[in-house]
Amino acid sequence: MNITLRVWRQKSRDVEGRMVTYEIEDVSPDMSFLEMLDVLNEKLTLQGEEPVAFDHDCREGICGACGVVIDGVAHGPETTTTCQLHMRSFSDGDVITVEPWRATAFPVVKDLVVDRGAFDRIIQAGGYISAPTGTAPDAHAMPVPKSDADRAFDAATCIGCGACVAACPNASGMLFTAAKVTHLGMLPQGQPEREARVVKMVNQHDEEEFGGCTNIGECAAVCPKGIPLDTISQLNRDLLGSLTSASSE
């Protein structure tokens, strides 16, 4: 297939970027989206031009590095990561627009690469448990109801890709934050720090200049890991609980 790509090019964080159009011939429908970009970059390199910078690592949908907005949707037309998106989802002659995540909290580093360090700082603020490490405890030492374990596990599958922020009209990072709050909040190990965690993580989220959630639901609709919108409701419940218990202390 032949594809026309409109790609965001931006040399570095502080310079202005613009859309640049490239033609790519002989794209195989079996290529992944990133492989198609690889083909473009080989061509650009041979022509002596600067290749398009894009982030990627595992290329198997588990690291969360590869997110870009394709034709206006985070990670493109399938609900998966960009590396797991294949060219068979497009047709011959398509014009495809590729842009980086756009949010004040995710500044563009170069072309399609953004700095998602804000997510790391939200995790640092409280997205962990303070437990001594050592040998793994016996699996049955701390029983967890199956439904809680399932919900914790589902929330834990968040790969921190940032698609939720990219898709949100408010550029809110609440689905990501809620996934972590839910993951740890469902498990016994997460209980001692549960109240403090949600308060610190929400504060950090706001400090990173993400917008506020208004329950629009675009985040959950594009999340490659299917993190459900109701995790945000659980986060709200935890935060409101923490704030009201503070006044009764």
């Binding site: 949010a103 929400v202 504060n203 208004t214 609709a221 709200n236 409101l240």
Partner: protein, 236 residues
């Protein structure tokens, strides 16, 4: 040490986007409860002039003689006004944060929703829709409460104000537009408020959205029945 840090963190969290949104949800909820009571009152118009004017007179007597004449009504008015102001303040504060979180210079060249268009439309029109609703509230108070705007003729009888006004097609049209805006606002708003206050849980989302749809539709239709009945001469 750890505790004082947490106390500080907690007071910061009182200003967080989640706290703002919760204020919006609680005040929005108060306004919705008011709308339901108000709608019920309006439907009394079908009981005729006496019943309706009696009802209007009655709400000024609630709590008497503990409260002065019209006292309860004034308490309700203060609570509603405060709710509306807090609601609008939180809305504008979150609007400003969202604008800062993705400024106009960073807008996407191509933008497409991953959700059904109708739902997305309701969620996306909350802000401007809210402004329309606010303007309508002012117009509506000037029309039927203070009677400063009196199409069809002013009157001391609330029933006559209603009937005089709604015999005119463009008055009914203005209420139709406003109530569709209210309905849209509540379609997303009621779901959003429940989710914000922590009611949304796995497997419950469809039910909550259904509740929001039913309540929003009931309020819109319930408010539109009296004006249209008057326009078509069923009440005169």
């Amino acid at each position: 040490m750890a505790n004082s840090t947490l106390t500080k963190q907690r007071s910061a969290a009182l200003q967080s986007s989640v706290a703002l949104k919760s204020a919006m949800a609680v005040t929005g909820g108060i306004l919705v409860l008011f709308l339901i009571a108000h709608m019920y009152g309006n439907l009394m118009v079908f009981g005729g002039q006496e019943a309706f004017d009696d009802y209007s007179h009655h709400i000024r007597e609630i709590g008497e003689p503990m409260l002065p004449h019209g006292g309860a009504l004034w308490i309700i008015r203060v609570v509603l006004l405060a709710s509306l102001l807090i609601h609008a303040y939180a809305a504008f504060a979150l609007w400003a944060r969202a604008k800062h979180a993705r400024p106009a210079a960073q807008r996407y060249v191509v933008r497409k929703s991953a959700q059904s268009p109708s739902r997305r439309y309701a969620a996306q029109t909350m802000r401007w829709g809210g402004v329309i609703v606010a303007l309508f509230v002012i117009y509506h108070i000037l029309h039927l409460t203070t009677n400063h705007i009196a199409p069809g003729g002013a009157s001391d009888s609330p029933y006559e104000r209603l009937v005089n006004g709604f015999q005119i097609w463009w008055v009914v049209l203005s209420y139709l537009i406003a109530l569709l805006a209210v309905g849209y606002h509540l379609w997303h708003g009621i779901f959003s408020a429940l989710a914000t206050l922590g009611v949304n849980k796995a497997g419950r989302e469809r039910a909550l959205r259904l509740i929001a749809t039913v309540v929003a539709a009931a309020i819109t239709v319930g408010f539109l029945v009296p004006p249209f009945s008057i326009l078509f001469g069923l009440v005169s």
